[in-house]
């Protein structure tokens, strides 16, 4: 019954963090999720925490998250996901959007 918490750790070569100190994207609506990205001194590593009501799909989560972190060479970064039954496609899309948001250079007055 309780929520399912998954934790993943990565270490990639030439890691890239994000431009902002932290960034948030998304709403925990049905079939959707929120992503919090925070710059952290992990010695180049990246950590991902997923909180989801879904059970039995840990392997799928790992594949989606691994592809994202390794594909973007992410490091010194904490990613937290609060999920509400999003499909893997939605998760991938939101992660990409979250990364774009986290690297957006702030314009004056925003």
């Amino acid at each position: 019954m309780a929520l399912n918490e998954l934790n993943f750790k990565y270490k990639v070569e030439n890691p890239q963090s994000i431009a902002k100190e932290y960034s948030h994207l998304g709403v925990v609506g049905s079939g959707d999720l929120e992503v919090l990205m925070e710059k952290k001194d992990f010695g180049g590593g990246a950590e991902v925490k997923v909180v989801t009501p879904v059970t039995g799909f840990d392997k799928v989560w790992e594949m989606v998250v691994t592809k994202f972190v390794k594909g973007n060479n992410l490091g010194d970064l904490l990613i937290e996901i609060n999920d509400n039954n999003a499909t893997p496609v939605v998760v991938s899309m939101r992660l990409r959007q979250a990364l774009a948001e986290a690297n957006k250079i702030e314009k004056g007055g925003e």
């Binding site: 929520l3 948030h24 925990v28 909180v51 009501p53 007055g109």
Partner: protein, 321 residues
Amino acid sequence: MLSWDELQKAKFTEANARERAFGLVDKGTFTEFVSPRDRMPSPHLPVLGEAIGYDDGVVTGIGLIGKRPVFVVSQEGRFIGGAVGEVHGAKMVQAIKLALKAYEDVKVKYPDSYEERLPAVVISFETGGVRLHESNAGLLAHAEVMDQFQDARGKIPIIAVIGSKIGCFGGMGFVGAATDVIIMSEQGRLGLTGPEVIEQEMGKDEFDASNKALVFRTTGGKHKYIMQDANFLVEDSVAGFYQQLQEVMKLPFAEIEKFRRIGSKKLVEEQLELVKLAVGLGAKDSMDVWKYYGNEDPAKLVDMGPDEFLKVAKRRERKLG
């Protein structure tokens, strides 16, 4: 997230809670309280296996409209229907408490010009009321918000902004009605028992919740505007609501207080006359009431755009200033 300028053009119904909070105050002035980075999810949802959100479905913060500090509360309907739980409620209450503290501070710091710097509270409702998973804590939160409203009476204005998909229903319908000013769009809905619940309890003959036209002309902004339940009707854009807020902020507080619908013996009497009318008129549809208030062809009002509607719609006349 869209920039402030892009947001102004965006539809209010499509903006999420954070975008609304950000866009309802002057450009670049919004600062969030207890943002997602502070990680304040509900402590009750995990044990039930329900998804959590770091803002617990509500965005609170402070911004400016002109010189006035505006404390914003903005509910997220996509998170459990915007329902109010313990953390969600506590965030609402604290925002109003801070506004009251700011009121005291402003009075001390600017004894001669505090009126133009008077804080205000703006609540963008999108909720079905109590979050049933956290029943007692959710109910208590409603009472505490009402309590803060009472403390704010005669000091700072509390302004309701209703134009999001879920509308403002359940216990929060009472809370919305207890504010000083209500600004709605045609798409905004305000009521106590939601259409689906009425149908479930009383049957399809009483209220057909699948009949969207019926639902909107009974609970929607146009009806509320004619009935004077809503003080202002605006177009469905962030700019529409923001500009109306700017207008309201220009008014002296004594004028703003006149927008209230409840809160004094006289106002209760005015409401009771409406109850009498509802029985006496034997209205079968909100359009019967529109006709009663002088709208010769009420059916025409249904599909009218907001600009034309505001020009031609006749409203109930209020007895009090």
